[in-house]
């Protein structure tokens, strides 16, 4: 069965005007502009099969959104080939657009001053959805996202989480086989993030949609995606299962501690160092790095030894995982 998304040596280079500061620079830029190349996406190759949930992971500016926009047909590649649902996105036109849904985290398609219902009705007309299908799909989506009576309130009165959920409803009414989500959980509280992740899994289960999302939250990836494409500075660093990557790269975990009041003398950086590598220590906060396998046991020992008010076990920040990945030269496609 052919892949639903194929990208071969996909590259995107932007030409950015270079301007010297000051008035003279401004005038020069007007008459003889100079340009500098920004390689947003370099030589990226991957295939996605129908029904997969794939996460593009990377820090800000890594090229995730640019790649997504190329897949959605908003940008055309500088070089390389891309094919989505057997269309070339850039020239696909309306037939292609019926196959996709694009949700951008920071901009919304919901009409601000009206209830979400109105945007749904508008999309029904734009995508030519038959009445019966519309009712059925709307009911299903509303139930899955637990939206209830939110639909009749103007969008401007909704919380960020509610708005994102409605945004998803609006995008899925035409039941596209492909879902492109750019930073879908950005700025949401934990409950909302969780709800959206659960929804995406359930939706994929029911309808076999292919979901591509970009994110810089590790939790999005761990909860949702079986497969992660790590992108940094335009290059694809890693393509595969997350556990494999983390196990290979991020051999450590971080224990974040907040110490309780009382005997402040007992807790010193030295005392803590016995349990692992002390990354930061500013009483009452501390961060300790320990080997991944030892994290639970070490946490138990710390709780026994010190007056701990709060403790959490975290993965190292994504930037660090990527830095490590880069430093250790993880090859593409592994």
């Amino acid at each position: 069965m052919p892949s639903i998304v194929t990208a071969e040596r996909l590259s995107k280079t932007f030409q950015v005007k270079v301007r010297d500061p000051g008035l003279r620079g401004a005038v020069r830029a007007l008459f003889r502009p100079r340009y500098r190349d920004v390689h947003a996406v370099r030589d990226v190759t991957f295939r996605i099969e129908p029904g997969e949930i794939v996460a593009f992971l990377g820090p800000n500016g890594a090229g995730k959104t640019t790649t997504l926009k190329m897949l959605a047909g908003l940008l055309y590649p500088t070089s390389g080939r891309v094919e989505v649902a057997r269309f070339v996105p850039w020239t696909g036109g309306p037939p292609f657009k019926r196959h996709i849904a694009l949700v951008l985290g920071n901009r919304q398609q919901l009409v601000w001053d009206l209830p979400p219902e109105e945007t749904f009705l508008l999309n029904r007309a734009i995508y030519d959805i038959p009445e019966a299908d519309y009712r059925e799909r709307l009911a299903e989506l509303v139930a899955l996202l637990e939206l209830g009576d939110v639909l009749t309130k103007p969008v401007r009165q909704l919380s960020l989480g509610e708005r994102m959920k409605c945004e998803l409803v609006a995008s899925l009414l035409h039941r596209p086989p492909l879902l492109f989500l750019d930073e879908p959980t950005l700025g949401l509280d934990v409950t909302a993030q969780d709800a959206i992740r659960r929804f995406l899994i359930e939706y994929r289960e029911r309808h076999g949609a292919t979901v591509l999302l970009t994110s810089h939250y590790m939790q999005d990836v761990t909860a949702l995606a079986s497969r992660v494409l790590m992108i940094n500075r335009g290059r694809l660093l890693y393509d595969g299962a997350l556990e494999v990557l983390v196990a290979r790269i991020a051999r450590t975990k971080r224990i974040e501690l907040v110490f309780g009041g009382g005997d402040g003398n007992r807790v010193t950086a030295e005392a803590l160092a016995a349990f692992g590598e002390v990354k930061t220590f500013r009483f009452p906060n501390a961060v300790l790095e320990v080997r991944r396998e030892e994290a639970p046991a070490t946490s138990a020992r710390i709780l026994a030894a010190f007056p701990v008010a709060d403790l959490s076990i975290e993965d190292p920040p994504i930037e660090e995982v990527i830095r490590l990945a880069f430093a250790r030269g993880v090859e593409e496609g592994e």
């Binding site: 932007f14 030409q15 640019t66 926009k69 959605a72 047909g73 908003l74 940008l75 055309y76 850039w90 036109g93 309306p94 037939p95 657009k97 019926r98 996709i100 849904a101 694009l102 951008l104 920071n106 901009r107 919304q108 398609q109 009409v111 001053d113 009206l114 109105e118 945007t119 009705l121 508008l122 029904r124 007309a125 734009i126 995508y127 030519d128």
Partner: protein
């Protein structure tokens, strides 16, 4: 397509409903400009006439300007400029609907609301003030309707095309304002074209400005008569509409190409 337009217009109508107070204010602006112009010309005309326009003629002219300007006005350059700069164009391009349709629907919804108000105001004023009454002439009114439609379409394309310049410059709205400033004279908003120095008036006639407003207004008030003049005027409108449609197509194709190169 009809269902889509129905949905788009309904949407725009509902949004306008939320902003009805603002719309009233914009309407006020649309009324005071011709009202002030009328006031000044009224004073100038005195008991005589200016270039063939007596007081009553001015009154009829400016009421017609009020109505027809409201029916033909377009402001899409501001919308487009904002969509392009604020990234609101992206999701519109990902839909299987050309963004221009949304702009047209919004235009129609707004005008349905505002023009009807002006029409009612005109009728009320006409009840008390004979000067602004028009002779009952359905034939003339029908032809005027055609001219108004042509003018509205052309002004839409002018506005949309200028808005597309936002793909290349941050000053697209300034260009639109320049155009609005010029059309104050050449389209006949400040005075009937007959009152302009002949050279200027002919420029207005040769270019698209007369087709924008002055011609439909003159049709309605009866200043243009005889099949020759009417046909020439309509012909001019059709020709310039064609020109601006071509301009729009070029701007759109090139603009989208540029957008696909650098993004939004």
């Amino acid at each position: 397509m009809i269902t889509r337009y129905a949905a788009l217009i309904r949407n725009a109508w509902l949004v306008d409903l939320q902003y009805r107070a603002s719309i009233v204010l914009w309407l006020l602006w649309g009324v005071t400009e011709p009202a002030i112009a009328l006031g000044i010309w009224w004073a100038i005309a005195g008991d005589g006439s200016v270039a063939g326009y007596a007081r009553d003629d001015f009154a009829r002219y400016f009421f017609a300007v009020m109505l027809i300007n409201q029916l033909t006005i377009a402001w899409d350059s501001w919308y487009l400029d904002r969509w392009i700069r604020e990234g609101d164009l992206n999701y519109r391009l990902a839909r299987p609907l050309h963004p221009a349709h949304e702009a047209v629907a919004e235009n129609i919804a707004y005008k349905a609301r505002t023009a009807s108000v002006i029409l009612v105001v005109w009728l009320l004023v006409a009840a008390a003030w004979p000067a602004v009454r028009l002779p009952f002439d359905p034939g003339r009114w029908a032809i005027t309707a055609v001219a108004v439609l042509l003018a509205a379409a052309m002004r839409f394309f002018i506005s949309f095309t200028t808005g597309l310049l936002a793909f290349w410059t941050t000053r697209a709205t300034a260009i639109m304002e320049l155009h609005a400033g010029v059309s104050l004279f050449l389209a006949g908003r400040i005075a009937p074209l007959a009152l302009l120095p002949p050279a200027v008036a002919s420029v207005a006639g040769v270019l698209w400005f007369r087709s924008m407003l002055a011609f439909p207004v003159d049709l309605l008030t009866g200043a243009v008569h005889g099949p020759d003049a009417v046909l020439r005027g309509l012909g001019g409108q059709i020709a310039w509409l064609g020109v601006w449609i071509v301009a729009y197509r070029i701007a759109w194709t090139r603009g989208i190409r540029k957008y696909g190169a650098v993004g939004g």
